[in-house]
């Protein structure tokens, strides 16, 4: 039976399968090392190579901007991506596969934490060198990382708990404003809050406290949505959360001491790539542990059948309230980071448009899945930037892509998939069960 299926495949399918088997043995570590080499190559010869190809600069987002803007440069852009990114990555990853597998196994044997830290450190090196080429890359990367946090936190409610919450922009606004007020009043001379209380040098160290405060205030606000959720579910809760978003926006517009609709500006430049990277990693780590814990499973139980969950000794009220507060906390932290990246907040940032954007990210990536949230957040952010040359048609193409994803994969691209760190980091030289499954 197996053979007959094999034979019916057209030749290009078997070709790709062969290519695939070439690469299944490369562990994540190998890919990251390859990527490091690629970004180093770019750093060394990127600009010279680009001008040799007729490009004015290193392409910002893997050549996508150039391809859409000036079609005559397509070969150049493709060549650049091929030779600078793909070739070194693949070549190095392939060449070091054996070695990388050994290291990966060694690291995992020591302690999973060490393995994770080493991988993250190397990943940071990749991102750092990639973003260092231009401020635009760094900015896009920062926005993408923040989007990951927001998407993940919304996925807790909309994916894992199965409610349709519209209140996330409100939580973000609360976090953004709280942390902005914290940093502006303590560390800077500001029009509204008077002169600095603490020396500015302390700021970057106390900045996390501001973010956490922002998260806590957002969590406090979430009580307004969480408590009605005991009795109200589904569509009615969606309305409550929507009303909450309108209320927060209107409240901030009326608060003159934070600038009303004019917003707050002049936040110090403390949200650099390192800070955001660390916060994003922490949030992924904690949220992933949360959703895989008993409480996370209780969330799924509440989603699938609340009454049954209740009778199976799941404390539904506690579960719901924890989920809401937890999700709101991370949305608040993300809001605080966003305010410090833009160095500006105003209430109209956190309206219906933001809601549509965040919802799109969650459902594009996939419900109930940490993987999905990362994929959704990054791809929508990057698409939003990469399709800029299309101008107005950008907002026809992106919704079209989303509709197609919804039609062909209704719960999202990578839904209902566990994010198992150990499995991601493991060496690939020994044939694993998943690999077999893939081939069958």
């Amino acid at each position: 039976m197996q053979d007959t299926i094999e034979q019916t495949h057209p030749p290009h399918v078997t070709f790709w399968r062969k290519v695939k088997t070439l690469f299944v043995k490369i562990p994540l570590l190998g890919w990251i090392v390859g990527a490091i080499v690629a970004v180093l190559v770019e750093r060394l010869v990127g600009s010279g190579f680009a001008s040799g190809l007729g490009l004015t600069k290193e392409p910002a987002l893997f050549g996508l901007l150039i391809i859409l803007k000036t079609p005559s440069l397509i070969p150049g852009a493709l060549l650049y991506v091929l030779l600078i990114y793909m070739l070194p990555t693949v070549a190095v990853a392939w060449a070091t596969a054996l070695f990388a597998n050994r290291i990966a196994a060694l690291l995992l044997k020591k302690h999973i934490l060490i393995a994770v830290l080493v991988h993250l450190g190397l990943l940071y090196v990749v991102l750092h060198f990639w973003a260092d080429i231009s401020g635009y890359r760094a900015h896009t990367l920062k926005l993408a990382l923040i989007a990951i946090m927001v998407t993940l936190s919304l996925n807790i409610i909309n994916g894992y708990m199965g409610e349709f919450s519209c209140s996330h922009p409100g939580f973000m606004a609360l976090g953004a404003y709280t942390s902005s007020v914290f940093t502006l009043s303590l560390f800077t001379d500001h029009r509204f809050f008077g002169s600095a209380v603490l020396p500015e040098a302390l700021g970057p160290f106390l900045f996390p406290i501001g973010l956490i405060l922002g998260g806590l205030v957002a969590a406090l606000g979430a009580l307004i949505v969480a408590i009605p959720s005991f009795r109200t579910r589904g569509d009615y809760l969606a309305i409550i959360s929507l009303a909450f978003m309108f209320i927060v926006k209107s409240m901030i517009e009326n608060m003159e001491f934070v600038g009303g609709p004019r917003g707050l500006s002049g936040q110090p430049r403390w949200a650099d790539l390192t800070t955001i990277f660390i916060w994003t990693v922490i949030s992924i780590w904690i949220i992933n542990n949360f959703v895989r814990s008993t409480l996370g499973k209780a969330l799924n139980a509440v989603r699938d059948e609340e009454m049954a969950a209740n009778s199976m000794t799941v404390n539904t009220r506690r579960t719901k309230i924890t989920a809401f507060l937890f999700a709101a906390f991370w949305a608040g932290v993300a809001g605080g980071l966003l305010a410090h990246v833009l160095q500006y907040v105003n209430p109209s940032t956190f309206g219906i448009q933001k809601l549509a954007e965040v919802l799109a990210m969650v459902y594009f990536g996939g419900l109930n899945s940490v993987y999905g949230s990362i994929v959704g957040a990054v791809s929508i952010t990057v698409l939003g930037e990469a399709l800029r040359p299309l101008e107005i048609f950008k907002w026809i193409i992106i919704p079209l892509i989303l509709i197609l994803v919804m039609i062909f994969r209704p719960p999202g691209l990578i839904a209902f998939k566990e994010f198992d760190v150990r499995r991601i980091l493991q060496p690939r030289n020994t044939p694993k069960k998943e690999v077999k499954d893939d081939a069958a």
Binding site: I240, L242, N254, A356, Y363, L400, I403, P410
Partner: protein
């Protein structure tokens, strides 16, 4: 006191729009259990189609080719636009909802949201950034009734929306199709087994909802004659609030909730500083749902909810 009655009139007009749009939401929501987030934009499309037809008829009339009086043009515009917009609704259903009938409900909500964005941007790309002015079809007349100013437009708008609401209610409760719809709302699994096609019912539901949105769009154009591609967003979301507030399965409830939301907004602006309007109005909505967790006329949830 005059102020109170004046605002009563104001709220009736504003509430009419929310009610009419909420009806369309509620149709889809009650019968198919879907959020149709494209509805606000179907409303916009309806208004633009109406604008096109009205402009055409007015131009024809000015050339003397088809000299119709203003009110007749308005009636024709409403009817033709309702007819045409119902096809837009069916198209939205075919593209965005039918392929997703077995999918999580929220996914269908997202496709609706995205279709809405496409409609907005498509309009912008086709017609440009220009705002258009809805032609004044009927001569505006203002009546001063003891210090309360009422215009003929306001009276017409309130009447038309009440008539449409009642007509829809009659249709749903008295006709065979209406019965099929109610049956579908009651149990969407068993009804198809009884020989009622779920596709037909879905199409019909979207068509009727969109036609009502088109009527609302034209009346909106008559009352607030500046049309722009994003005009449906805020009204749409507010009508969505009204539709859910009315309660699932209750079409009249949605209309009443629409009027209620209009009253809340107008009277909050009258009593409190209008700066706090949204804050207070939505706090009231929130409180209502805390004390009536299933809306005004909705039934408590059954386990059949597909989320």
């Amino acid at each position: 006191m005059g102020e109170f009655f004046q605002n009563l009139v104001n709220a009736l007009q504003y509430g009419s729009f929310l009610a009419l749009i909420a009806l369309g939401y509620s149709m889809v929501y009650s019968i198919l259990m879907l959020f149709n987030f494209a509805h606000g934009d179907i409303f916009m499309v309806g208004a633009y189609i109406g604008f096109g037809i009205a402009t055409l008829l007015v131009t024809l009339a000015s050339f003397g080719a088809l000299a119709l009086p203003g009110w007749l043009i308005l009636v024709l515009t409403i009817i033709i636009s309702m007819f045409l917009t119902s096809f837009v609704g069916m198209l939205v259903e075919r593209i965005g909802y039918r392929p997703l009938r077995e999918a999580p409900r929220a996914s269908a909500a997202i496709t609706g949201l995205m279709i809405g964005i496409i409609l907005e941007t498509g309009n912008l790309a086709l017609l440009g950034a220009k705002r258009v002015s809805f032609p004044a079809l009927i001569e505006s007349a203002t009546y001063d009734i003891g210090g309360v100013f009422v215009t003929n437009k306001k009276i017409m708008i309130v009447f038309v929306s009440i008539i449409l609401t009642l007509a829809l209610h009659q249709f749903v409760t008295k006709t065979k199709w209406g019965m099929a719809m109610r049956a579908m709302a009651f149990d969407y699994l068993v009804v198809p087994l009884m020989g009622v096609s779920i596709n037909t019912i879905a199409r019909l539901t979207f068509a009727i909802g969109s036609a009502l949105a088109a009527a609302a769009g034209i009346l909106y154009g008559v009352a607030y004659p500046v049309l722009e591609p994003y005009m449906g967003i805020i009204v749409g979301w507010k009508a969505f609030v009204a539709a859910i507030l009315g309660g699932r399965g209750s079409i009249l409830g949605a209309a009443l909730a629409g009027f209620l939301l209009g009253f809340i907004e107008i009277f909050v602006a009258m009593i409190f500083p209008s700066t706090f309007r949204d804050l207070i109005a939505y706090s009231i909505v929130l409180l209502i749902l805390v004390f009536r967790p299933h809306g005004f006329f909705g039934e408590p949830y059954s386990a059949k909810l597909r989320l």
